[in-house]
């Protein structure tokens, strides 16, 4: 090797320094000067990246611009999963989106504690009451940091023909009835319950519902607020989960089954009459429609709430989650006004007609036309409270750790005690 002379070495060091400086400089570009002359541009990231939802939001943006010519809205439709990685980076940057998809709960609290979300308490005070109890999930410490436009509930979707084949006339209303329904279906060689174990979060629905049914509302609320999970009802939820797993109600190889991909996914099995039930969110009819052989809605699809369970919880309480929007810390004040438009009865009624979710604004219920979705809406509105999915309600690191622990229980690799321990450990580490 030619030994570099001192000059060379200095040259190399200089170049390296220069290059590093250039590299470092790249991170601080981008300007966000407020536009002058009252003209405002709102960038809007939402997750309806397919029609009809995509076209609907575009129309809403256009309508708002027509009413407020000084506000231009740049709509960016992104795939749902992309938000997970893009939002933290975008919020770190100098140029975050003004309005973006927000699921509330612990994730929102994370973003708020970092000072990246606009406080909407004042701006929404006059109308947020129209959204009912749903708005609570987009609050942090009593302040409003986002606005929901949808709040759905999880429940059992079932195939009516398969229930009829097994001689089941009424859907199970209690835990014991659910277990006997499973036995009846198994006797007819029908896989009773489909579950997307590969994705982990479907497993967590069972544990979450058993916790909500077994623990009082106060215990649930306090536990989530304080990140303490000492009440024995949480271990009990795991024990009942185990009771169900031991009854072997799930399809063959359920640990590796994806929730939504292809005909062999859990939704696909229900769509094709290969399994009788699935505990899933309000979006399931849409997913199932895409997985039926003719891509038509499954007219044999029915819905019933998670059965009653002995315990301190209310049998009408629901587990669910919703969609909303937050404004980032740099967003102009018009952002709140735009959210008011989205939450208006008119827009919410028309959005409900699209059929991708359940509206939250009072007076928009009439927009829900699908009879099954109406059942869900009634259940939701009669619920004393809708508990957000735990992985959303809790900070992400804790919620995901809980999902993993529950999935491990489904795989026979964790006991009910270990699930709660994993949850506590993650809460301690957060």
């Amino acid at each position: 090797m030619l030994s570099p002379s001192r000059g060379h070495r200095r040259l190399l060091i200089g170049m390296l320094a220069l290059v590093t400086a250039i590299g470092a400089g790249c991170g601080t570009g981008g300007e966000d000067e407020p536009e002058s002359g009252g003209a405002v541009t709102l960038t809007w990231w939402h997750n309806a990246n397919a029609d009809p939802g995509k076209a609907f939001w575009q129309q809403v943006a256009d309508e708002y611009h027509a009413k407020n010519p000084n506000v231009t809205i740049q709509v960016v439709a992104m795939q749902n999963e992309q938000f997970k990685t893009k939002i933290p980076v975008a919020l770190q940057s100098q140029d975050p989106p003004d309005v973006f998809q927000q699921w509330g709960g612990g994730q929102l609290a994370d973003q708020v504690s970092s000072g990246r979300i606009k406080d909407l308490t004042e701006a929404t005070k006059s109308w947020v009451g129209n959204l009912g109890k749903a708005a609570v999930n987009w609050q942090v410490d009593g302040k409003q940091y986002g606005i929901p436009y949808s709040l759905g509930v999880v429940g059992f979707w079932y195939h009516k023909d398969l229930f009829a084949q097994a001689g089941i006339t009424t859907p199970p209303a209690t835990w014991d009835e659910l277990l006997s329904t499973v036995e009846k279906l198994k006797a007819k060689n029908i896989a009773p319950i489909a579950i997307g174990g590969k994705d982990r979060w479907p497993d967590a629905f069972y544990w979450a519902y058993l916790a909500v049914r077994g623990c009082s509302e106060q215990v649930i609320k306090d536990s989530i607020a304080k990140y303490t999970f000492d009440d024995p009802c949480f271990v009990k939820a795991g024990e009942m989960t185990k009771q169900l797993i031991d009854a072997q109600p799930f399809q063959k190889g359920f640990l590796a089954t994806p929730a939504q991909q292809g005909a062999t996914s859990s939704a696909g099995l229900l769509a094709n009459g290969k399994a009788a039930m699935e505990l899933q969110g309000h979006w399931n009819p849409g997913v199932i429609q895409g997985l039926t052989p003719d891509k038509k809605p499954l007219d044999k699809l029915g819905w019933f709430p998670f059965p009653a369970v002995p315990g301190a919880g209310d049998p009408k309480a629901a587990v669910g989650g919703g969609d909303g929007f937050s404004c980032s810390y740099k967003a102009p004040d018009e952002c709140a006004d735009f959210l008011e438009y989205i939450a208006s009865v008119d827009v919410q009624t028309r959005w409900a007609g699209v059929g991708t979710g359940l509206p939250v604004t009072k007076g928009a219920e009439g927009g829900v036309t699908d009879p099954v979705l109406k059942t869900l809406l009634d259940f939701r509105d009669q619920a004393p409270y809708v508990q957000l999915y735990f992985d959303i309600a809790l900070e992400t690191s804790v919620g995901e750790a809980l999902n993993e622990a529950i999935a491990n229980e489904f795989a026979g690799k964790a006991t009910p005690d270990e699930v709660v321990k994993a949850l506590k450990d993650a809460a301690k580490n957060r």
Partner: protein, 332 residues
């Protein structure tokens, strides 16, 4: 599994040829200086673009990751919660991460022990004059060209219970051997290894085929004259002369196995019950899925160190004789 690390690592960057100085008369001092300046300008001109990219996209992120790894950070807001090496202590004490390291180690060993001989055997076969040889070679290579996502989704669907793979087993009368390929925590890692082998074997075969082309035909003729049998020829001539190729392939295979991510992530997400986690899937899960960017960075740094040490030791002790000259320089 790209070759970029290798190229980046061994690209000969020294030995700038002396500038052609005019040969007429005595060399004057000014000429030498002008030559030196020109050489400097040339070096700056040619090296800068690559150096800019390398620093901005390789060195800078590594330094940043090391910096983040000392903080507890959810990816939002400022880095305020300095925790020192706590993230490293937590990672190395986590059974799931240790399991992931073990899974990587298993994949490394299996790749070397199973894929190597298999690829050499198939390369020898495809090196024979036989009908449709070109087509067969192409077929072997096709899986390698497919994107990881396509491969992953396709295998995921085929490996579902009563899927195509199970149907195939039944069709050939092996119905009794059917297992829950992806759903069994004891089996899933080996199922993944089969898919990995399917995907990357073609690359190994092509490498070995190229290596075989470099063996002079005369040696085989001489061996034949000496009365060496087929097995003796392979053992005494082919395999030793394939040495450099084998060592390069093994290096790529080890690094690729250590960094295994896409196929596992698409097919199992590291499950069920973390039975197929690799270091990289663990890192993505903790970092991006759980918003523990500080902790994820620590895992990334550990992965980097493991890969770096393995690569360094391998280069130093095993690849040295192959890269002599290119790496070490002819001046010693």
């Amino acid at each position: 599994m790209s070759t970029s690390e290798l190229v980046g690592g061994t690209a000969p960057t020294t030995d700038v040829p002396p500038p052609a100085t005019p040969n007429r008369g005595k060399p004057r001092l000014g000429d030498a200086r002008r030559g030196a300046i020109r050489r400097t300008v040339e070096v700056v001109l040619f090296v800068s673009p690559a150096l800019v990219l390398y620093v901005a996209f390789v060195l800078f992120p590594i330094v940043l990751a090391a910096y983040y790894s000392l903080y507890k950070w959810n990816g939002l807001g400022a880095l305020t919660d300095f925790v020192g090496f706590e993230n490293y202590r937590r990672a190395l004490g986590d059974d799931v991460f240790r399991g992931a390291i073990a899974h990587n180690a298993i994949i490394v060993v299996l790749s070397l022990v199973v894929q190597g001989p298999l690829a050499i055997g198939l390369a020898l076969l495809l090196n024979q004059p036989l009908r449709g040889r070109t087509a067969l070679r192409a077929i072997c290579f096709i899986p390698y060209i497919l994107s990881e996502v396509v491969t992953g989704v396709t295998w995921l669907l085929m490996l579902q219970p009563d899927g195509l793979i199970d149907e195939f087993f039944r069709a050939v009368g092996l119905g009794g051997a059917i297992e829950l390929w992806l759903g069994d925590t004891e089996l899933v890692l080996y199922t993944m290894f089969v898919v990995i082998t399917w995907k990357y074997l073609g690359f190994a075969i092509i490498l070995f085929l190229a290596g075989l082309q470099g063996i002079p035909q005369e040696l085989y003729e001489a061996a034949a004259i000496d009365g060496a049998g087929r097995w003796a020829t392979i053992r005494r001539i082919t395999l030793p002369l394939l040495g450099p190729t084998t060592r390069i392939w093994a290096f790529l295979s080890i690094i690729g196995s250590l960094q295994l991510f896409d196929l596992v992530w698409i097919m199992t997400l590291g499950g069920p019950a973390n039975a197929s986690n690799t270091m990289a899937t663990y890192m993505i899960d903790r970092g991006f899925q759980r918003y523990e960017y500080g902790y994820g960075s620590a895992v990334a740094v550990i992965l980097f160190i493991i890969s770096f040490v393995v690569a360094f030791v391998y280069q130093r002790y095993i690849l040295r004789r192959d890269t002599e000259g290119a790496l070490t320089g002819n001046a010693g």
